[in-house]
């Protein structure tokens, strides 16, 4: 049971796409001079990747 749960987690993780193309709009960031992007669709939203 433990082996299957661990293995399923691993396999499900491998199903995640290695690249995600985002739908977005852009706007200037007045403070930094950089660009801000705003996600348009929840399913491919820009995530803060943290572990």
């Amino acid at each position: 049971m433990i082996a299957k749960i661990a293995n399923d987690s691993l396999r499900l993780g491998q199903l995640k796409p290695t690249q995600t193309k985002h739908q977005f709009t852009t706007s200037p960031d007045g403070l930094t001079g950089q660009v801000r992007v705003t996600s348009v669709a929840y399913k491919n939203k820009i995530r803060p990747d943290q572990v």
Binding site: D8, S9, R11, L15, H22, G33, V37, T38, Y42, D49
Partner: protein, 419 residues
């Protein structure tokens, strides 16, 4: 990655690398690499080595897989603790034993200490709620299958500690949940946690509870979903408008019912201390602040909607973290593996195309939902009566043209076998 006793405490923050194609006036498109600096709601700052002012970003692609969600990480941490021997889960949790390691005779074994005496003396199926009278405002008239489901959900018999309810779309699963909650609260039951895989399903339950006039609940929702996002924001607006029109007097109260994850650390315990019904997604149960809520409202009854979409391994963390207080688990969903003896075959076939299996099951065939655990499947109750009233013509049109059932050979095995 470094593990801690609380796996979901975030130790390392890494940048999300992205690749952009940029179009500059008078020039061709070229590729720029950069990273995401910070995300707030659906907006994020882009950091690149080249200034992008006055340039058009044509495409934006994140590189690399998403990191594990909190729930995924929590599941992994639970498995790790079991393997390390710090968790005696397999010995201590009757939920794990009865779901994954059934006895040969099929009888589930529950420790006597596993349910409060007050609850054990409560309803058995023969004393379960009657059909709600139509004149009682905010109540539903239950059909016989819904009535049986609510009876079993309300029962504290050992044989009903795990209750599985199976119902195709439109058979009133959410109504059954609302009826159960109303009856349970009337009986003095507390510690009811209503969870689902998706935020939308949780929202639907909340909506149904309000529809029957029950508002003494709290909804825990992720700021990522609630904050700016169209689905929840839009539906919540509809919901609040609906409430405003139908139950103006509770409008203000409902606003206070939603607690966003960004406020979990600061929200006063008084806010939810006497609340007997909590709603959230299954993933939210892995939130690092969840014990703030479960300490005030211990999880005694777990009701899982959309259970057919949840891979059974996702419950390990729940049965690990809450097995000391959890007395009853109710799983509600619609699983394609089950045969519905009372419903029209065409509806059966239509239903086959509408159900949603656990994520990844199409690729990983051996993933199981709770409905696919053989010894539990036998326990399933079926909601069926309303399904016969399902509009066949409307439902038939939902099936893609090439998939519509024309010949018996097209039909899934379970339908052919019942022909």
């Amino acid at each position: 990655m470094k593990y801690t006793s609380r796996f979901n405490i975030k130790l390392i923050s890494r940048r999300q690398d992205v690749r952009m194609t940029v179009h500059e006036p008078g020039s061709s498109e070229y590729v720029v690499r950069g990273h995401i600096n910070g995300v707030s709601g659906k907006s994020a700052a882009l950091s690149t080595s080249r200034a992008l002012k006055d340039k058009a970003i044509m495409t934006l692609t994140s590189i690399g897989r998403d990191d594990p969600t909190t729930a995924e990480a929590q599941r992994g941490a639970t498995v790790l603790r079991i393997l390390q021997g710090t968790h005696k889960l397999l010995d201590e949790s009757p939920w794990i034993r009865n779901i994954w390691f059934p006895s040969d005779d099929g009888i589930m074994n529950w420790p006597n200490s596993h349910a409060p005496a007050s609850q054990r003396a409560a309803a058995s199926p023969s004393h379960a709620p009657g059909v709600s009278p139509g004149g009682n405002q905010g109540r539903h008239i239950l059909n016989s299958s819904q009535q049986e489901a609510v009876n079993t959900m309300s029962s504290n018999m050992d044989s009903h500690r795990i209750t599985i309810i199976q119902g195709p779309p439109g058979t009133g699963k959410t109504s059954v949940i609302a009826a159960f909650v109303q009856y349970a609260i009337e009986q003095g039951v507390d510690g009811i946690w209503l969870v689902a895989q998706s935020n939308v399903a949780v929202k639907n339950i909340a909506e149904k509870l309000m529809d029957v006039g029950f508002v003494d609940w709290k909804l825990l929702v992720s700021k990522d979903f609630h904050f700016q996002w169209y689905v929840f924001a839009h539906l919540l607006l509809i919901l609040l408008r609906f409430i405003y029109v139908r139950h103006e007097h509770i409008y203000t109260k409902v606003q206070d019912n939603v607690i966003r994850s960004e406020h979990f650390s600061s929200v006063s315990r008084k806010t939810f201390k006497n609340c007997k019904v909590m709603l959230c997604t299954l993933s939210m149960l892995s939130n690092r602040f969840i014990h703030k809520f479960t300490s005030q409202n211990p999880m005694k009854t777990l009701v899982v909607d959309e259970a057919s979409q949840i891979e059974v391994g996702d419950y390990v963390s729940v049965f690990s973290d809450f097995h000391n207080t959890l007395c009853k688990a109710i799983f509600i969903g619609d699983d394609k593996q089950c045969i519905f003896p009372h419903i029209n075959l065409l509806v059966c076939h239509i239903y086959y195309y509408l159900i949603v299996p656990p994520y990844g099951q199409e690729d990983l065939q051996d993933l199981q939902s709770i409905f696919e655990i053989v010894h539990l499947r036998k326990l399933a109750l079926f909601l069926n009566t309303q399904c016969q009233q399902f509009s066949l013509n409307s439902a038939y049109l939902l099936i893609p043209l090439g998939c519509r059932p024309n010949a018996p050979s097209d039909r899934p095995d379970y339908i052919r076998s019942s022909l």
